[in-house]
Amino acid sequence: MSRRITRRDFLEAFAAMGLALPGPLALFDVKHPRGLDFNHVNSPTPQKYLIETMGGGVALFDYNNDGLLDIFLVNSGRLANPMRAPETFDRQNPRNWNRLYRQNPDGSFTDVTKEAGLANAGDGNYGMGVAVGDYDNDGFPDLYITNYGKNTLYHNNGDGTFTDVTAKAGVEAGGWSCSAGFFDYDNDGHLDLLVTRYMIWDTQHSKICGGEWQTYCPPAEFPVTTNILYRNRGDGTFEDVSRRSGIASVTGRSLGVAFADYDDDGFTDIFVSNDGMRQFLFHNNGDGTFTECALEAGTALTADGKPLSGMGAVFQDYDNDGRPDILVTVLPREVYALFHNDGNGSFSYHSLQAGLGLLSAASSGWGSGLEDFNNDGWKDLFVAQSHVLDNVEAIDPMLHYKQPPLMALNHNGRFERADSGVTAAIAGRGAAFGDLNNDGWMDVVVTSLGGEPLMLLNHGGSGNWLSISLRGTRSNRDGLGASVQVNGQKRFATTAGSYISASDKRLHFGLGTAEVAKVEIHWPSGIHQILEGVKANRLLEVREPEKS
């Protein structure tokens, strides 16, 4: 297969000739594509309402199945100073709409929000995040929007439009929802939904903290709450099984969620990041119930037994040992937590071994991903960064509110800082990952609180790659929950993870110099499928066999 010459190739050749490089080898180009004109509205007020600093979800998904990733961006809304009941966030104002941008073949985007039927976000809803999943297995990805207020499920009608089916589906949740994710916990072929909720809070019971600094309060100032698990009945409706399943047996201040089958028992487990307390690991017992076992499994606290300000979460295998590990992004002076899966149902704290002590101790992380950005066969780390407090410099000059994202390349399980190409510091929040231009190199869209999103297009390079699209038959249609191994690397099929964001459902593998691959898939149905001699540098659609 002939390969295009990328800017990266050019730069590497330049360097090999001993010539001065025209610039550093940044991984991404920061693009401002035509038509992508979103501006996040969070309306910070002197009231320091905590919701102001938490929003900015983004999804990368192909809503019209034209083969190009589209972008959905969650807006938050207008806050008054102070807010008075009944609460409205002026969501009818186009400035405050969530937005769907359809990607055009030339890489530009068209705002199709109104024609898609997504303009009305609900006046009582202050927007947070988004989850993507084909909950009715009709081949078109659906959208679930989380809010402070009520959440919204939009059914993708397959004709470029969406219908709000929240009431019929019974998934509005209520309270303050943050991250959400579709997954099939009972392997019945229908995607269920996990919704994290941050705390019991409302604008009428808000507080300002920090004394003379007048800033946002720490989470411990507000009561904990439960997360919600909705079981998909398969008829377009869901039932709340939070209590029955054991998900609501613990209360927390949950922000992130990520899925993987960490003990290889064939059932998807759940990791939930909590802010300022221990983290949750829900082991799927395989009978419709979960057991929260983070403390026993070693994913609740740091190596020193200290709680984490858990925000974003990723559940993927970073060291290619075939077992999914857990990454949690946190506040400065804590170090992003990396829990290494030791293989016997337990994890070890490996942040320092992996180099995160140097890379992250001064940073605050939100949206995050473990993706192979340089196609060398190792998953690299990208984190959207920014402190929670918009006046943190005044309180502690050693810290910064706006920060550039962290880009770190994975060298045999140890991360080393790389140049992302983003020179400006931003108030990073959401981050979604996918191959926007289908060139075989993973791209990123990062949101900025109260600002414009950044689209980071990967320069590309010399490594080979394989992108796999799963087509479930007995399993859910997108094969979410499948475990896919390619030339010794494993990925868990999911659109969830990161922070309040949803990523491309396709599974991307960097192959390095390998030109063929062995693909091994464990479908949620239990079917085990092996494909040998798969050629590199292509998008491979794999259909689940009807029988094993």
Partner: protein, 356 residues
């Protein structure tokens, strides 16, 4: 018999000068807590005998009891005029003047009365810091558990220290020590760039000064710049090979950087220099555990637990041991350590991580 005794007593009183009689009645009233009555009696005594120093002293004393220091000053001044050797009058006058902010004026009276606690405070308030420190140190040696004295001693020492440093800065503004002090000031303000600049200038002038690399390393550590911190701690261990703290800090930085083997070496060295420091033992266990030597980690944490039972470090050691036992496939031991950890976490001053 009782009747005879009372008659004699009445005769004696009748023979006492009237001013003194009022003094006696006043003293009785004061003892009974009737301060206004005492005040009236002492006033009458001073009117009847304007040269009776004891009456003026008692009058001033009652004003002080009534917290009316301004009113106390005039009768007490009169008392010391009349009787310059009356220590009680000097003491009370010193108190009253000090309470009214006339510290300099109070000093000779307090000196005369040997009221050293108040004298120390007066010297402090008058800005005579070296003298204040000396006097307060002496009084504190006699009353080591007096929080007021501890406060004033600390304040006097701090101000004296600042005064000396200000003088150093003013007289030798470009000296290494002046740059070091400025660096410390910036460090307190968390101004890393300026603190770093000043430390580096101090080091440029006097590269072998003990403690400078340590302080710069600590600045970098607080800013989470662990690679730079490691470099500075490494340099400090070269200058101060006997400093347990420098080796401890070096080990801590190397641990943060994932250099577990080097961290172990530095921490072992620190432990040799100053044995049985709980912080060092904890970090030794952590470094050993992360370096893959669970047996050694177990040894250090168990040793720490033999020294400390219910501190946050003990809780952390239990947590670490629980992880080791889990890894070793000893669930009962792991559960036991986790239970100890949970018990300690639920105590005040610890972070509660118990399930809800």
């Amino acid at each position: 018999m009782i009747g005879v005794f009372l008659s004699v007593l009445l005769m004696l009183q009748a023979s006492e000068p009237p001013a003194l009689q009022h003094v006696h009645v006043g003293v009785g009233a004061e003892k009974s807590g009737h301060l206004d009555e005492a005040l009236a009696e002492f006033k009458k005594a001073t009117e009847l005998d304007p040269k009776l120093a004891v009456a003026f002293t008692d009058l001033g004393g009652v004003y002080i009891e009534k917290r009316d220091y301004a009113a106390a000053i005039t009768p007490l001044k009169r008392a010391v005029e009349l009787s310059p050797d009356l220590d009680a009058a000097h003491r009370l006058l010193g108190y009253a003047l000090l309470a009214q902010g006339y510290a300099t004026e109070a000093i000779p009276h307090l000196e005369k009365a040997h009221a050293e606690d108040a004298l120390g405070i007066a010297l402090l308030d008058a800005g005579k810091l070296p003298e204040a420190v000396a006097v307060l140190q002496k009084v504190l040696a006699q009353n080591p558990n007096d929080p007021e004295l501890l406060y004033y001693y600390g304040r006097a020492s701090g101000l004296l220290s600042k005064q000396v440093f200000d003088e150093l800065e003013a007289r030798f503004p470009d000296s290494a020590r002046a740059h070091e002090m400025m660096a410390q000031d910036y460090a307190v303000l968390r101004d890393v760039p300026n603190a770093e600049r000043e430390f580096l200038e101090a080091l440029r002038q006097r590269p072998q000064t003990s403690g400078l690399h340590l302080q710069l390393g600590e600045l970098y550590a607080r800013a989470q710049q662990w690679d730079k911190a490691e470099e500075q701690f490494q340099l400090e261990t070269g200058i101060q090979p006997g400093s347990a703290e420098a080796f401890y800090r070096l080990g801590e930085a190397q641990l943060q950087l994932g250099k577990f083997h080097e961290a172990l070496e530095a921490l072992v060295h620190s432990d040799h220099l100053r044995e049985d420091m709980p912080e060092t033992l904890y970090q030794l266990g952590k470094a050993a555990s992360m370096d893959g030597d669970d047996k050694m980690a177990q040894k250090y944490w168990q040793h720490l637990l033999s020294l400390e039972k219910d501190t946050p470090l003990a809780a952390q050691a239990h947590f670490g041991l629980s992880g080791i036992y889990r890894k070793l496939g000893e669930p009962a031991e792991a559960d036991r350590e986790m239970e100890e950890f949970r018990k300690l976490q639920s105590k005040p001053g610890h972070t509660d991580v118990s399930p809800n």
